[in-house]
């Protein structure tokens, strides 16, 4: 991957120091994940130029947007980006159409009407065009805001917790649109969230932020399963595998999917063969056996290798496994670790009790 | 240039300190608790002499006089509307006569306390000659006078100009002060080159001559008699301090002060 984002920023707020040095891929969704106050929004604002870090270097696909050593700082309005705020921030004095055209009128490249039409279609806002923003629901507003940012045909899309201000139902209303974006857009998206669900559903690359620093960054499954990151120890710890539908077993109401290194049986999914999906496996749903269990109700038993092992707190261990090419986490009791004599490098079988399909 | 700005700043400071002094003075008058107090409306041209007379009055009688300075017309309107003034020192004869008609005045209390003297004055030395020929010669852009529609000084100023035959010629150059104090400000700040003011405003009491700038003390023959008239109002009929003040205004002490400030004495 030649296209990349290089982002280095240093900001000193006294008590809080923001110090980030990241390289992110130039495509797919990079999710910045962390608790509030961890600096993820600051990072996004620095990238947008809404906040000016005194020391900073920012290159997007080869273009320098900021280089404090050479005194380069491209103001926000000259950066070819799209930005979606936590609150939709539509202009209340303009209709939906006028909001969509606000940025469009100001860019040099003639973005075709067809493009805008496609974006309107993609986000399902065609019926809202003549309305004023105060006549829209929260979810509708956020969809218009996303369309408004996309209409600019940006080189990078920045999204700051676009779902955080919405209730559960509105979130469910927007997530499918974000998934479609994911599949249809070929620009890098930086997406800030503190929701593990959104991480699992959207991220290709995951950046874990804490106390103004990036603790870890890398491909989603890799980063999710890193034992040196608090996330792996969380009760909700999970890994996400990209899979493809290969077969439907109608009699059993099952669907078989393939991942890098094997296949899984899942409850029936209404998706054509060949459809790419994401499967989430919670660490608490994975158990370990030393031999292939001959009689078990669990359908998904896969050979694996132990690649990492920690003593968790409260008698719990976190085991990192490799299944084919995919990383997997298992939360088991410390006693089991000892009884099984688990060591790094050991070959084992992993039983997956349950999975969830994310899209 | 710099000197001039400095001068204007000093003038401002001077006027400030003067007003502070006046305030302190009024406070001290108030402070004498046992004495009777009378509330007096005073025409603004009589500000300086009346301040001094009030001090002497207090020394001589133990009573005190609270002074309210302003245009005679304003005081008149206020009295008509029930203002609690007890003695009214007007700059003209007109308002006291009107008040008599409307029944606000104690019978037979009306008297002339001073004769106003009009001066054509400029803040610039040598600008106004002692014959007032500058009025016929012209060469200025603004001529300040008190508003003739209600201020007595404005009325006599118009009479003087009419007498000299320059009234209509000069009318476009008029700038009108609401009262004689404001007219003086227009001229003293040089915004108007010259103007008709009261002698009391420009006299140097040590020498008895015009203190600064240049001026022409206008002879009484050029205008109708400028009789500054006072009345005892019915509100003050029972107040010994009010009665005492009316009498004190006719005393030699008061007359000496009145003359010192450039007013004529009643005949």
């Amino acid at each position: 991957m030649t296209q990349t984002i290089t982002a280095r920023f240093f900001l000193d707020y006294g008590e809080f120091k923001f110090d980030v040095d990241l390289r992110l891929p130039g495509s797919g969704i990079s999710v910045l994940f962390g608790p509030s106050g961890s600096g993820k929004t600051t990072l996004l604002r620095c990238i947008a130029g809404l906040q000016r870090a005194p020391q900073g270097l920012l290159k997007i696909n080869g273009e320098v947007w900021q280089d404090s050593e050479r005194g380069v700082f491209v103001p926000t309005h000259k950066r070819p980006l799209g930005y979606v705020f936590q609150e939709a921030s539509l202009f209340p004095h303009l209709t939906v159409t006028e909001n969509l055209q606000f940025g469009l009128k100001r860019i040099n490249k003639p973005s075709s009407a067809a493009d805008l039409h496609q974006i309107i279609e993609l986000l399902g806002i065609g019926h809202l065009l003549k309305r004023m923003p105060d006549r829209l629901s929260g979810g509708e507003r956020q969809r218009v805001a996303i369309a408004r940012a996309l209409a600019l045909n940006p080189e990078v899309l920045l999204m700051d917790e676009p779902l955080a201000a919405l209730d559960f139902q509105r979130k469910q209303e927007i997530l499918p649109f974000l998934n479609r974006l994911h599949q249809e857009l070929n620009i890098p998206v930086l997406y800030v969230t503190h929701s593990q669900q959104e991480v699992a559903q959207l991220a290709d690359t995951l950046v874990i932020m804490a106390d103004g620093r990036a603790l870890a960054s890398g491909p989603l499954a890799e980063t999710l399963s890193r034992l040196d990151v608090p996330l792996a120890h969380d009760r909700e710890a999970a890994t996400v595998w990209p899979v493809t539908v290969i077969e439907h077993e109608a009699d059993y109401h099952l669907t078989r999917v393939a991942f890098a290194g094997g296949t899984l049986s899942l409850p029936a999914i209404d998706a054509a063969v060949g459809t790419p999906l994401r499967v989430q496996v919670y660490a608490r749903d994975a158990s370990i056996a030393l031999e292939l269990p001959s009689a078990t109700s669990i359908l998904n038993v896969l050979p694996a290798t132990v690649t990492g092992l920690t003593d968790g707190h409260g008698g719990q261990s976190v085991v990192r496994l490799k299944v084919g090419n995919q990383a997997l986490l298992a939360h088991i009791t410390r006693k089991s670790t000892v009884l099984l004599g688990l060591r790094v490098g050991m070959g084992v079988y992993v039983q997956i009790k349950g999975t969830s399909i994310l899209n | 240039m710099l000197f001039n700005s400095l001068k204007s700043v000093l003038l401002t400071l001077y006027l400030f300190s003067k007003s502070i002094f006046l305030t302190l003075f009024l406070f001290s008058v108030n402070a004498i608790a046992h004495a009777e107090t009378t509330l007096v409306a005073v025409a603004s041209d009589f500000t300086k002499p009346m301040t001094e007379i009030a001090a002497e009055f207090e020394k001589a009688t133990g009573h005190s006089a609270k002074l309210s300075f302003g245009s005679s017309g304003k005081a008149y309107t206020q009295i008509q509307s029930g203002a609690p003034f007890e003695v009214y020192l007007s700059a003209s004869e007109k308002y006291p006569l009107e008040l008599e008609k409307s029944g606000h005045v104690v019978a037979n209390s009306r008297f002339v306390y001073a004769i106003g003297k009009l001066v054509l004055w400029s803040a610039k030395p040598g600008y106004v000659d002692d014959q007032g020929q500058v009025l016929t010669k012209g060469g200025f852009q603004h001529l300040a006078l008190a508003d003739p529609s209600h201020a007595p000084y404005g009325v006599v100023a118009e009479e003087v100009m009419a007498h000299l035959g320059v009234l209509e010629k000069l009318r476009p150059l008029f700038v009108q002060g609401e009262n004689i104090s404001q007219t003086f400000q227009f001229v003293s700040t040089s915004n108007a080159e010259l103007g008709f003011v009261g002698l009391a405003q420009v006299i140097d009491i040590a020498s008895g001559k015009i203190g600064s700038g240049s001026g022409w003390i206008i002879p009484d023959t050029l205008h109708s008699p400028f009789r500054q008239t006072a009345v005892l109002l019915k509100t003050g009929a029972e107040n010994p301090a009010a009665l005492a003040l009316v009498n004190f205004l006719k005393s030699p002490t008061a007359l000496a002060i009145i003359e010192k400030y450039g007013f004529g004495l009643p005949k």
Binding site: H77, H93 | F174
Partner: protein
């Protein structure tokens, strides 16, 4: 009834107030914007200076203006050097004095409206390729419209109602500086109460209708829009 002199003062008043309002909006808008946005330590000083005419007696302001704009004052010397002569007793001087005196009535509503808009619309506009000036005219001005309305109406109405400063700086010259408030005063002082009533009643009705108009318009649009 109103005499032709009265009508002349009304017309003059409208001219002074109209021109002063336009000037106040031109000067007051950037000033209010700066005051609403700045974190400079001079903000407090500037706020206090702008608000000063609200608490100062008009005669104090008038007196200082008379000195400053007079032949010996710094402003007077400047205007003289520029070939404008001195400002007191002129229509221009009256407008200048009115601008200073009524400025807080324009700046304060604008400042409040600008502050209510907050950072977000400006940031949103910046991410949509709008430069600062572009943003000001296409986003801030429409969002602050109720503030502009209040500022315009209050600025105009307050200038119409102003008396003390005008009296000091204007010199009460018919057709040049004699505005309606001074004319009313003249009528009262000259005991022409009938004339005074006509004008004063008219002014009262005018002021009331202006304020009524403003408040009913503002009911429809509160101080500033919130972003949706």
């Amino acid at each position: 009834m109103l005499t032709s002199a009265d009508i002349a003062t009304l017309w003059l008043t409208c001219k002074v107030a109209g021109l002063a309002t336009v000037l106040m909006l031109i000067l007051g808008t950037p000033l209010a914007w700066w005051l609403a946005r700045t974190t400079s330590r001079w903000k407090g000083v500037c706020n206090a200076l702008v608000a000063l005419p609200l608490v100062l007696p008009p005669t104090v302001l008038g007196f200082y203006l008379l000195i400053l704009m007079g032949p010996s004052g710094p402003i007077g010397q400047l205007t003289t050097q520029l070939g404008l002569g001195t400002l007191p007793f002129t229509f221009g001087g009256l407008v200048v004095a009115s601008v200073l005196y009524s400025l807080p009535f324009v700046v304060q509503p604008l400042q409040a409206a600008f502050a209510a808009i907050g950072d977000r619309p400006l940031e949103a506009a910046a991410t949509l390729r709008a430069g600062p000036l572009d943003t000001f005219f296409t986003v801030v001005v429409p969002l602050a419209r109720p503030g502009f309305m209040t500022a315009t109406i209050l600025g105009f109405a307050h200038t119409v109602g102003e008396f003390g400063v005008v009296l000091m700086v204007g010199g009460n010259i018919p057709d040049k500086t004699r505005v309606v408030s001074v004319q009313i005063y003249n009528h009262v002082e000259a005991l022409e109460y009938d004339q005074a009533h006509w004008l004063a009643g008219g002014l009262l009705a005018f002021s009331f209708s202006v304020l009524l108009l403003m408040y009913s318009a503002l009911k429809a649009h509160p101080v500033a829009h919130q972003l949706k």
